[in-house]
Amino acid sequence: MINRIVQSMADAMAGVTDGATVLVGGFGLVGQPNALIAGLIELGVKDLVVVANNAGGGKAGLANLMALGRVRRIICSFPRSAGSTVFEELYRAGKIELEIVPQGTLAERMRAAGAGVGAFYTPTAYGTKLAQGKEVREINGKPHVLEYALHGDVALVEAWQADRWGNLIYRASGQNFNPVMATAAKTTIVQTQHVVELGELDPEKIMTPGIFVDRVVHVPYGDPVMV
């Protein structure tokens, strides 16, 4: 019997090591796998490369992981967010590396990773400082910039519903980066609000099939709360 549901955070986080590239889902506070980030902090791994849209808001979650000095490098589109001073302080002190990526390029680099595409050309960022040093090729008369696939060792994902095969459904704007990150990592770890019986999820509504999921932990924390 396939059962990807694990009973403890320690089981969920097993095998995550120092130096790992960790893809973290969520946009704003919606769809953000807070319990898994807390699990990562508890695990104590360091020297991490974190890929997320934002460099952590407030003091909790990603901001806390960074404040503890566990993150070597962050790859994101929007390092600044409301109440996020942790990243800026670390960055100014030279204690964290930053790679800024246009949001669509960030998503597409992970889609490429998940789909086995090594790299792609996009017109986004051509002629700007985010394309400096990158190969440019003219395609259909338009200059394109070469961007490489972005693979994760681990993806941390939040879902609304999951079954024991790891089939997932997301809620409203909680989908965001989660489905694409689930495809792009060697190990995909999911926290879910609800666990349902196998066969209960409508196959036509499953958004991430279990083939992309390794472990699921049940975290019924309720609604995201704006800060």
Partner: protein
């Protein structure tokens, strides 16, 4: 350099921010798929009449975004790219981030309305970083939107608070995209970006061409 400074105070009151948003909304026809940036662009949605079906896209995966809910009807799972609570219209849908940016980058949006620090007369736009030395600016989806939408309009004040023109010959801030902007709505005028440069297609009533040019770094052409 953008040294153009208005040395006289205008006798006429410039358009307000809601008025600028309404002026943009007036030009959006039914059936368009539109992405609205943060700031004045977000206000554009409030000025599209409900009976005109314009489908608003938000980068975080919403097609058919509706207005902000009242306090009793907040769905904590439904926020827009500005991280504000919003609603979903009948017919609306949710997509994931890679597909949401396929909407943007694949040329499926009819229009994107952005704010900007500067727009150059060739359509170059600078709207993400205020200096080359700003080492950690937030780009978000600005570069994808500026390149990907079928047309990019900018809505912004005509000048900075200290009177510098934001319509320039060449951008001095780091670029977001090259030759991307098709039209600019300011608090003084509406201008198309043409092969010849900025062409004024609408002006604040009572404002003279000379007064507008005096507040604009780039040369203006008049219809």
């Amino acid at each position: 350099m953008n040294t153009t400074t208005a040395n006289t105070t205008l006798a006429i009151k410039p358009w307000s921010r809601p008025r600028m948003a309404a002026r943009v909304a007036q030009d959006i026809p039914e059936g368009w798929y539109v992405n609205l940036g943060i700031g004045i662009p977000t206000m554009v949605a409030d000025h599209v009449p409900a009976e005109r079906e314009v489908i608003i896209h938000s980068e975080n995966g919403i097609l058919g975004m509706g207005p902000a809910p009242d306090a009793e009807h907040v769905d904590p799972w439904l926020i827009n790219a500005g991280k504000q609570y919003v609603t979903l219209r009948a017919g609306g849908s949710y997509i994931h981030h890679a597909d949401s940016f396929a909407v943007i980058r694949g040329g499926h949006l009819d229009l994107c309305v952005l704010g900007a620090f500067e727009v150059a007369e060739n359509g170059d736009i600078a709207n993400w970083a205020t200096s080359e030395n700003d080492s950690a600016p937030a780009v978000g989806g600005a570069m994808d939107l500026a390149v990907g939408a079928k047309r990019v309009w900018v809505v912004m004040e005509h000048t900075t608070k200290d009177g510098r023109s934001k319509l320039v010959r060449h951008c001095s801030y780091p670029l977001t995209a090259l030759a991307a902007v098709k039209r600019v709505y300011t608090n003084l005028a509406v201008l198309d970006v043409t092969e010849a440069g900025f062409r004024v297609i609408d002006m604040l009533p009572g404002l003279t061409r000379e007064e507008l040019q005096a507040r604009t770094d780039a040369d203006l052409h008049f219809a």
